[in-house]
C-alpha cells in the first residue's frame, strides 16, 4: 500500500467527528443518570480534562514520529511484550468497531425500521466501511471533508429548532451532586469521548503532512467535538428534563422528536439522525482501520488490503453476538468499558511515553522526512508517488 498523507484540516475534521462518534447518541443518558441536572457541568470538566489526554497522545506521537501506535508498541516495549499489548489494543479496537455496528443496528431497528433485522444494517454499513478501507485513508479523509458541512448544517438547524422549547427550570438547582459521583460521571464521559482518540495515533504523526499544524488540529478538533457534546447534553437536560433523559436509550433522538415549530415543521428527527450516522461512520471506520493496519503490522504484512474483507465478515458476525440485548450493552458500557479502554488507551500510552523517554527512543531521519512533507503539503491531492 503506497504512503497516503492527510492535510491538517482533514485531520482536524476527522478528530472532531471521531470524538463526537457514538457519544452524541448514548452519552447524555449515561452521564445524566450519574449527575442528574448537573450533567453539563460534568461534561465541561470532562472536556477540559480531555486536553491532558490529548497532550499525552500528541507527545507520544511526537516521540515516535514515523511509527503508528502498534509499531511504537513493538519498538518501545520490545518484540514479545509489544506484540501482547498491541494485541490488546487491536482487540479493543475491533470489539468497539463491532459494538458500534451493533449500536447503529439497534438504533435503526428500535427507532426507524422495527421489522428489519439488525443484520441487514450491519451488512450495509460494513460494505461502506470495507469500500472505504480499500480506497485508503486519504479518500476517507476527503469523504469526511464532504460530510462535515452537512453535519454542521444539520447541527445548527437542530440547535435553532429546539431552542424555543428550553425550560430553564430543568437544570435547577445546580451544583447538587456529590464529589464521588461527579468523578465517576466524568470518567465515564471521558472514556467514551476522549479515550478512543488514541485510534488517531494510527494516523497522527505518520500519515499527516504537517505534524505541527495537525497537533493544533488535534486540540481544536477535540475542543469543537466537546462543545457539540456539551450542547447536546445541556439541551437534552433543558428540554426533556434530567429524569426523562436518563431513562431514554437514545436521548438525542428523543430530543429531535420534540422539534415542532408552529405545528408545521415537525417529525424531522430522521433528518437529524443523519448527524450521528455520519459521526458513527467516521468512528467505526477509524476503529476498523486501526484493527486492519494493526494486524498487518503485527504480522509484518506490507499490503493489508487482503485482510479487509475477512475482517469485515468477522465484524458483521461479532456485531450480532457482541451484545445479546440492550441491558447487556448498558452494563458493559457503564461498568467495564471505562476500565478496559482506560487500560489499553491511556495507561498504555502513558507507559509507552515514560519508557520511550527513559530509553531515549526517537526516530533518526526526521530531517529529510520533513522536507518531503513540505513538498507534499502544497499538493494536498490524490497524487501519490
Amino acid at each position: 500500500m503506497e504512503k497516503q498523507l492527510l492535510s491538517a484540516r482533514q485531520f482536524t475534521i476527522i478528530t472532531l467527528l471521531h470524538s463526537i462518534g457514538t457519544a452524541i447518541l448514548i452519552v447524555p443518558a449515561s452521564i445524566t443518570k450519574q449527575l442528574h441536572q448537573d450533567a453539563w457541568i460534568g461534561a465541561t470538566i470532562g472536556v477540559l480534562l480531555s486536553f491532558l489526554i490529548v497532550k499525552l497522545y500528541t507527545s507520544l506521537g511526537n516521540q515516535t514520529p514515523h511509527l503508528t501506535f502498534v509499531e511504537a508498541n513493538g519498538k518501545i516495549l520490545g518484540k514479545y511484550l509489544g506484540t501482547l499489548t498491541s494485541l490488546g489494543f487491536i482487540t479493543l479496537a475491533f470489539f468497539s468497531a463491532s459494538e458500534l455496528l451493533y449500536f447503529i443496528g439497534i438504533f435503526m431497528q428500535t427507532e426507524v425500521m422495527p421489522e428489519t433485522p439488525t443484520l441487514s444494517f450491519a451488512v450495509l454499513f460494513t460494505i461502506i466501511l470495507v469500500f472505504a478501507s480499500f480506497l485508503g485513508i486519504e479518500v476517507f479523509a476527503r469523504s469526511a471533508e464532504i460530510l462535515f458541512p452537512i453535519f454542521s448544517f444539520i447541527f445548527i438547524v437542530f440547535l435553532i429548532c429546539i431552542s424555543p422549547q428550553i425550560n430553564i427550570e430543568n437544570i435547577q438547582p445546580i451544583f447538587e451532586t456529590k464529589t464521588t459521583s461527579l468523578i465517576t460521571g466524568i470518567l465515564k464521559f471521558m472514556s467514551i469521548f476522549s479515550f478512543p482518540l488514541v485510534m488517531l495515533l494510527m494516523i497522527f504523526p505518520s500519515a499527516v503532512n504537517i505534524p505541527k499544524a495537525a497537533q493544533k488540529g488535534f486540540y481544536f478538533g477535540t475542543l469543537c467535538g466537546g462543545i457539540v457534546l456539551i450542547i447536546i447534553i445541556a439541551l437534552s437536560t433543558l428540554v426533556i428534563g434530567p429524569t426523562n433523559t436518563s431513562i431514554e436509550t437514545f436521548p438525542s433522538y428523543a430530543l429531535a422528536q420534540r422539534i415542532s415549530i408552529g405545528n408545521f415543521f415537525q417529525r424531522v428527527e430522521i433528518v437529524m439522525a443523519v448527524m450521528w450516522i455520519i459521526s458513527i461512520y467516521i468512528r467505526t471506520f477509524l476503529y476498523f482501520y486501526a484493527s486492519v493496519i494493526g494486524i498487518a503490522q503485527i504480522l509484518n504484512i506490507k499490503d493489508p488490503r487482503p485482510l479487509i474483507l475477512p475482517l469485515g465478515m468477522c465484524m458483521i458476525a461479532l456485531s450480532q453476538i457482541v451484545h445479546p440485548n440492550i441491558v447487556h450493552s448498558n452494563n458493559y458500557n457503564q461498568k467495564i468499558w471505562p476500565l478496559y479502554s482506560g487500560l489499553f488507551t491511556v495507561l498504555l500510552a502513558l507507559l509507552l511515553l515514560v519508557i520511550a523517554k527513559v530509553r531515549k527512543i526517537r526516530s533518526k531521519t526526521a530531517g529529510d522526512h520533513s522536507n518531503q512533507q513540505t513538498e507534499k503539503s502544497t499538493l494536498n491531492s490524490s497524487e501519490t508517488p
Binding site: 470489539f95 459494538e99 443484520l119 464521588t180 494486524i295 504480522l299 509484518n300 504484512i301 499490503d303 487482503p306 485482510l307 474483507l309 475477512p310 475482517l311 469485515g312 465478515m313 468477522c314 458483521i316 458476525a317 461479532l318 450480532q320 453476538i321 457482541v322 451484545h323 445479546p324 447487556h328 452494563n331 458493559y332 461498568k335 467495564i336 476500565l339 478496559y340
Partner: protein
C-alpha cells in the same frame, strides 16, 4: 439456512478473488492470515445463520475486569 448458504458462497468468492494474485506474488504469510480470518468469519456467520447461541466475547472481558472494578470501588 439461507444465510449460511450465502455466507459460504460469499466467502468462496472472496477467496477466489484474493488468493490467486497473492500466490503469484508468493506472499505465504498473507495467505495464511487471510485464510484464518476468513475461516473464523465464515464459521461465525454460518453459526449466526443457523441461530446457534454463541457467547459474547465481551463476557470474557467482563469476567476479567469485574474483580478489578470491585477492588477499585472499595477505595471510595
Amino acid at each position: 439456512m439461507f444465510i449460511s448458504m450465502i455466507v459460504i458462497l460469499v466467502s468462496l468468492i472472496i477467496a477466489y478473488i484474493t488468493i490467486p494474485p497473492l500466490l503469484k506474488k508468493g506472499e505465504k504469510k498473507t495467505i495464511f492470515a487471510f485464510s484464518i480470518l476468513l475461516f473464523i468469519g465464515a464459521i461465525l456467520n454460518i453459526a449466526i445463520g443457523l441461530k446457534i447461541n454463541i457467547p459474547s466475547p465481551l463476557d470474557f472481558i467482563t469476567f476479567i475486569f469485574t474483580p478489578i472494578r470491585k477492588m477499585l470501588l472499595s477505595f471510595f
